[in-house]
């Protein structure tokens, strides 16, 4: 802890010029692919993620037990996503871990009682990794699920937070802040119900600060949700008016 770099300048700005509570610029698009049932592209700063959803369809895997819904996720990072060429795009320890975390967070949001004995496949591809890969992947997966018309309790969004050396909480940390040695807290939340679906911490910090860092991450989640909601609404208006509000009964 002692040797880590200061993440905030004297003027109170971060390494990339943001203020402590500022999110990176978010750009997202729904329905980017024709073949899957739902798809989305999400950009948060320089982290760029594609997500595709297939299903719900009849469970194919033998592991389907009883009446439960199977959420099958795949997390992969493109070989060109990092500064050094990545040799294994998927299947390494980190990807498998993220895959499990995605399943965990998504199962909290999907209304699984509506899809017994079904399977939903979620494929996430990180095109460029610049910090908060898991959070952006989950946000993209949520958008793809909405595009696929799968029933959700509400938006499930994720955000990261960190703590500067002077104990000021930072929202949505970038790769350079991650490697500069700040602690990283990732939260996936259902912001309206104020429920936390998933939480992960990469490093220790004093418990006195935990509450403020969690609150910072939750505030980030709410902010991201508002941005995503606006994007979905815009997409629906766009698609709906193109289809002349045709409805399939």
């Amino acid at each position: 802890m002692a040797g880590r770099m200061e993440l905030l300048s004297e003027q109170g700005l971060r390494l990339d010029g943001r203020r402590p509570h500022e999110l990176r610029h978010i750009k997202c698009k729904l329905g980017v692919f024709e073949q899957p049932d739902g798809s989305a592209y999400m950009e948060q700063g320089n982290t760029k993620v594609l997500a595709a959803v297939y299903g719900p369809h009849q469970a194919k895997s033998k592991k389907a037990e009883g009446n439960d819904l199977v959420i099958n996720c795949q997390y992969s990072q493109a070989t060109f996503s990092t500064a050094e060429r990545k040799n294994r795009p998927r299947g390494d320890r980190k990807s498998l871990e993220f895959k499990m975390y995605l399943q965990q967070a998504l199962s909290a949001a999907i209304k699984s009682e509506l899809y017994p004995r079904s399977q939903i496949d979620v494929y996430v591809e990180v095109l460029q990794a610049d910090g908060a890969n898991y959070a952006v992947s989950l946000n993209a997966a949520t958008l793809a699920l909405i595009d696929a018309g799968i029933c959700l309790n509400e938006f499930v969004v994720a955000c990261t937070a960190s703590l500067s050396k002077s104990n000021i909480p930072l929202t949505d940390i970038s790769h350079i802040e991650e490697v500069s040695g700040g602690p990283k807290l990732t939260i996936a939340a259902l912001p309206t119900a104020e429920k936390i679906a998933f939480m992960e911490m990469s490093e220790r910090f004093h418990i006195d600060h935990l509450e403020t860092v969690i609150e910072t991450a939750m505030a980030g989640c709410r902010e991201i949700r508002d941005i995503l909601e606006r994007a979905v609404k815009e997409h629906l208006i766009h698609m709906g008016s193109a289809a002349d509000w045709a409805r399939v009964g």
Partner: protein, 209 residues
């Protein structure tokens, strides 16, 4: 959900998002597709257009429709249309491609056991005398198993509706039913045993007792 929503005018289109609160739960409000109830309020569970349909006496159905999307899962009791894929002495494997009158995008697996082929003389049923791979059958879903849906044709209206004679030829003509247990090819006059569904043409329905 076969509700008519065309009466809604284009001006008052209300778009909602998952988790958005729609209205309070009241006695005369019924939850429709794409909604759920929590803590006395009705919430949307997917993005789409909110439609409030006045159905019957004083009941309002609140539902969310997504343009150009509809998911159908066969439920117990539904009549489905399926194609026979494989027959074995004990059961026939089928691919369900139509539920009620809704065509599915992806097919579901169905299993028709020997005991469920017909109502009477169940022990004298032979699968290979009832179905052949490639037949189109009407069946009722009786149960949902882990891997597939259990089907039954134990009704006179259920069974084979379209079938081709086994001798393969280029211009295949569907066989014509000549009784509840046999079908005949109009070209070659070959007769083959099938569990035939009693599908009545509309003109003859009135003459039936």
């Amino acid at each position: 959900m076969e509700t008519d929503t065309t009466d809604q005018s284009k001006d008052d289109i209300l778009i909602c998002l998952p988790g958005e609160r729609l209205c309070r739960v009241e006695d005369n409000v019924v939850l429709g597709e794409g909604t759920y109830e929590q803590g006395g309020y009705i919430y949307a569970s997917k993005s789409g257009i909110v439609s409030i349909v006045e159905s019957e006496e004083k009941y309002q159905m609140v539902s969310v429709n997504k343009p150009g999307f509809h998911l159908t899962i066969p439920a117990t009791g539904d009549v489905v249309t399926a194609r026979v894929l494989v027959t074995t002495p004990k059961f026939a494997k089928c691919a369900i491609f139509c539920v009620r009158n809704v065509l599915l995008e992806s097919s579901y697996r169905g299993l028709l056991r020997k005991e469920d082929v017909r109502e009477t003389e169940k022990d004298r049923v032979d699968i290979y005398k009832s179905f052949k791979p490639g037949d189109i059958i009407l069946a009722r879903v009786i149960n949902q198993m882990e891997q597939s849906f259990m089907l039954s044709t134990a009704e006179s209206e259920l069974g084979v509706v379209i079938a081709y004679a086994s001798d393969a030829r280029k211009n295949r003509i569907p066989m014509v039913p000549i009784g509840w247990g046999e079908m005949q090819c109009p070209q070659t006059t070959i007769k083959e045993p099938r569990k035939v569904a009693k599908v009545l043409p509309e003109s003859t329905i009135k003459s039936e007792p």
